[in-house]
Subunit: 390 residues, 4 copies
Amino acid sequence: NKRKIAIFIGSRANYGTGKAVMKAVKDHPSLILQTIVGASALLDHYGEVVKLIEADGFTIDARVHMLIEGASPLTMAKTTGIGMSELATAYDNLKPDVVIAVGDRFEVLAAAAAAAYMNIPLAHIMGGEISGTIDESIRHAITKLAHIHFPSSEAAKKRIIQMGERPEMIFAVGCPRMDLIRDILEKKKLDLSFEGVGAGAIDITKPFLFVSQHSVTTEFGSGEKDINAILDALTELKIQTIMLWPNSDAGSEDVSRGIRKFRERTKDNPPFPLHIFKNLPVHNYFHLMNSTACMIGNSSSLLREGSFIGTPGVLVGSRQQGRDRSENVIAVKHDKKEIVAAIKKQLKHGKYKSNHSYGKGDAGKNIAAVLVKVKPDIQKLFREIKHNGL
Amino acid sequence: NKRKIAIFIGSRANYGTGKAVMKAVKDHPSLILQTIVGASALLDHYGEVVKLIEADGFTIDARVHMLIEGASPLTMAKTTGIGMSELATAYDNLKPDVVIAVGDRFEVLAAAAAAAYMNIPLAHIMGGEISGTIDESIRHAITKLAHIHFPSSEAAKKRIIQMGERPEMIFAVGCPRMDLIRDILEKKKLDLSFEGVGAGAIDITKPFLFVSQHSVTTEFGSGEKDINAILDALTELKIQTIMLWPNSDAGSEDVSRGIRKFRERTKDNPPFPLHIFKNLPVHNYFHLMNSTACMIGNSSSLLREGSFIGTPGVLVGSRQQGRDRSENVIAVKHDKKEIVAAIKKQLKHGKYKSNHSYGKGDAGKNIAAVLVKVKPDIQKLFREIKHNGL
Amino acid sequence: NKRKIAIFIGSRANYGTGKAVMKAVKDHPSLILQTIVGASALLDHYGEVVKLIEADGFTIDARVHMLIEGASPLTMAKTTGIGMSELATAYDNLKPDVVIAVGDRFEVLAAAAAAAYMNIPLAHIMGGEISGTIDESIRHAITKLAHIHFPSSEAAKKRIIQMGERPEMIFAVGCPRMDLIRDILEKKKLDLSFEGVGAGAIDITKPFLFVSQHSVTTEFGSGEKDINAILDALTELKIQTIMLWPNSDAGSEDVSRGIRKFRERTKDNPPFPLHIFKNLPVHNYFHLMNSTACMIGNSSSLLREGSFIGTPGVLVGSRQQGRDRSENVIAVKHDKKEIVAAIKKQLKHGKYKSNHSYGKGDAGKNIAAVLVKVKPDIQKLFREIKHNGL
Amino acid sequence: NKRKIAIFIGSRANYGTGKAVMKAVKDHPSLILQTIVGASALLDHYGEVVKLIEADGFTIDARVHMLIEGASPLTMAKTTGIGMSELATAYDNLKPDVVIAVGDRFEVLAAAAAAAYMNIPLAHIMGGEISGTIDESIRHAITKLAHIHFPSSEAAKKRIIQMGERPEMIFAVGCPRMDLIRDILEKKKLDLSFEGVGAGAIDITKPFLFVSQHSVTTEFGSGEKDINAILDALTELKIQTIMLWPNSDAGSEDVSRGIRKFRERTKDNPPFPLHIFKNLPVHNYFHLMNSTACMIGNSSSLLREGSFIGTPGVLVGSRQQGRDRSENVIAVKHDKKEIVAAIKKQLKHGKYKSNHSYGKGDAGKNIAAVLVKVKPDIQKLFREIKHNGL
């Protein structure tokens, strides 16, 4: 009787992290993988991650559509509620022995809470980190529901202990995205086709910028202004740029609108070559991070993968506030001048050397090894530590 | 422009705690109360708390049915998901400035998460305590979603600080149930009518036992055995007993079945006078706690209200595991002998003196006073404290 | 490539009808059966039909909890909505070629509408009949969503044609419940065990009455008065009685309360021997209909199965208003005197002879044979018939 | 005590029809209007109809987000289910005396079924018509749930009678969209601003084409090919064109994609001046129908409003299959040649004279007058008519 390990993949980012774990679980003789795909991972609008998953050889055990249209804080809440109800049904039908929840996006709380309520041991990957947006609250709430913790770094582990979790259930295995990066940069090649939405002649053998900017849910409504600051900076720099379409967080419509208007406005005379991808296969995303002269935006990958790869980065705004970072990143406000200055500095510096604070690229196997043996107590109990409140 | 304070009442117990806060908010000139009633608080089966609320002079601003039948861990999860989706709609229509979530029952996470996702400041009452069942996880998850904390005791406050919350947003105002108790024991009288389900001749001027036993969600399936241990003990003691019907947690059917079978089995020759209430008005509940010779079961009121009132109590099983308690309680296992011995000991001891570790009975007003002025930062940020993990 | 035929079973009554179809589909070499169980069929409170289904050798392909507690018109609507959302997910995962919806209970609209919306050919069993309650509206709404119709009688077929459906997609195959009856009365024996809730000494070798009374959703609130009229009549007649617990329609609580109060009230001196079954295996239900001196209530089985079996019946109230009936039934109001008189008349008459207007007991095989070959047009189109409005 | 009349507005099209009724109800001294807005009517992506409603002076009593992203048959089903659950809550809080459902879009079944289940008299506008897509099934299913019918024409009334409804509850008052048209063409002027998405120099004082093409849910997947046939025809004709973005039916993404690709493909050398509106205020829509040289597509407005206005029209494909039409329309397949030929024919013919088979423009007041007095029986009963099945 092998242990059935269900993983919930709700987004492009989720799969980027989950893939190495899924592979390790699937390949382990004592484990059975159950793949549940939901939320934006099912939607064409966000690049239909489900097709990538199947192309990678995984079987989908349940599909759960749950995304309420609107991309607002309200619809994020409704989506999560509906997801929780439907994922409970999926667990009831699949009867997993462990559920894995990855990260801190809004819909992940649905997967986590449903498992905890149903007395299914919950394993959480990427807990204990610090960031901005509602993700900050969700991540820690999931930690308090989880039975097994797989933080990406020792700093994260220390915070999970602080929150009252038992050290013997916390495994600082590194971040599974690093596994993927190592694998990809070793084996695959960049294979970009510049079809679809986009403008003009990008030559990736020459220096290019790479932009990945999402909305900030706790600053709902400012997304258009924020992306505009970046677009203004790019307009001044006039360097060829590859950009990613925003994910499905509340406010993504604002970011999208800013991009659409910019393209409409400049379509007769684009100030710089710009190509926008709705979705990028994970391996191309990392190859671009590996090749770009400077990555700009507020994606957590700037800090995490960027640190491992050594990508020169400009972190714009509050979205990753408080998240551990290494020397590859310069943080600036949504201000054209600051952005321009920081990009110039990074262009001068060039690539950084690889930093292993988020793992060495073996997290997937480490996690599988733990899941075979771990015996969590289904009844959680707050563990008090000595402290004086400071 | 007064602040609109929405409170979610999802159960009988919720209202017992929330009432003093609702009264203080409603009476405050700078606040407007919005009352949202849902889950078992709407159902006849659980005593239709909504009628008590209206009888107390409160207006219901929204009613949200959400309870999926089944009373299992699965249906608890589904209920919470559906509640989250529907409460988001209620907030969207009512536009509260603050949402108050009370306690740690499963459906309360729905009210809390919906507010946090929608960037509405979330105030949480009764955080930082420790107990058994899934409540333990839910309570702390809500803390990590909440912006303002109203723990009942200093010990609870210390745990909330440990979890990374900012001390300036934590107000140890005491437990609002104590307000109610003080008020009730001062003003109202016990007014029992022994209609409805029940057996025979209870004389409350003579010593009687009082039983309040619920299911333990993390020990799903053991409810019948557990209540039977208590019923066996009562059968040996042969003292007149008043009992409460279990709440709607997963597993409540098991407890109910045990009680039903016992009554069926003994209906021709009841071993002791027994009366069972499906629902008790809050004031009678506290009066019974004030008058009983010994209270038995696993309700948290044994520890909290019992401590304030000085009720001699026998705490059975793991449901309140870890919760702070004072000298009025003897804890035992689900074992007939242990239960009998502990009851006998309490009968000999008699009433304890009042203990104020859960507040002095002025929490409602304290909370209203804070809600008028507090300015929480909608973006939460983990606060690291110095600790060595021990 | 065999056709995958999914059937939705949402209640005890549903399974009584669906069973013969499920058996025929499962046994057919060109069809694959997919069994989806939901609503009250999953709940212990209603006898957990799902266990009977598994005991009969069927595999459950999906379980969908959906019943919102409350048993009111409001919660019926919410249940159906949630069911529609979740059944869509189930169809998405199972990919059936045809979905079968049985009858007209509230949750069946969820199963039917989800299939029609998803362009899955919908087959409907028991359309075209006439009755009271909201079932009357639901049944015909399902007809207008369905692509293939399996009415139980020629009269029903004529009404489906009237509603604008194409005659070549209407198959008057008879009612599959008759298959079951024929099979049961031939092969199985009555095997009653008088455990569980109940009172006393029923001797089924002597004349006994059999009561099956449900709530009437469009007369919400009158359930208690209605059952009381029957209980009063029984009290006068003093004949031993077997009774069934009501189903989960809105208002069922009212009927249940009436029964509970009666038993409480008369527990020291029961006016007649009374045994109440929460759930009866289908075969015992039909054996009791075959043996009873007179069946009383408002269940449709009085008219349908009763006609086939020849059960002397007293139909009380409006619930089956307009439904085709044969000579075995006397219809009366909720009036003690009328009920008493009708029962006496039936006791005198004794058993009726079998009537085949609802089929000969071969509907299951007929339906399977159609499902193998039928090619419905997924785009429905109203078929106008000549009429002058009279 | 005035009657409370709730209306559900779920889309742009819904409001176009509902507006005249809302105005008449709001202005009637014996009626109170309750406006419930949901589905795509709340979304920016579809033009945020809710803002138009408020700008017209109506108060929104409840907002219900329900649209599951995906625009597929599956998500249409899920959306309807979630809508049914949430609208039940809205009715429970608003307690309307009558609910009005308009038309046949997928989410309207949610509003209709919730009302019928809750024993709230349901009035249906635009029943009894014939069309293609799933709308055909939904429209008639709503008829079988409705208590009061307001068909737009005598032909539609006859079909409602055929379906077994009682003639005294069917009021052929005309279509309320005609009220609006009459009012608009009399009072308002065309006031187009060619901002937003679009290309170039449209001069509406010269002949222009007007395109409104939606997806066909029962031909899911063909939307891109269909719009391409039209775009090819336009490319050949080279006449300036105004186009509308498709609505939120399943498959709308396909139509949108076709349009997007066309614009991308031809952006350097547009074959004809093309402007696309995401949303048009209703009055501009009708003015364009009044001024266009020829309207092309599959919107029902071609047949209904077009008939009243006398718009020369080319109806493409099956979406309005079977719907009553008058002489202003030429029906063709999704074939470039046929489309070109039909447009040329209409350009030669010019405007048609107004046809009143869909009403004279006084439906709103007629409906309000009925709603004041009508006393529907909440228990529906199928009315058999004499027919021989032909």
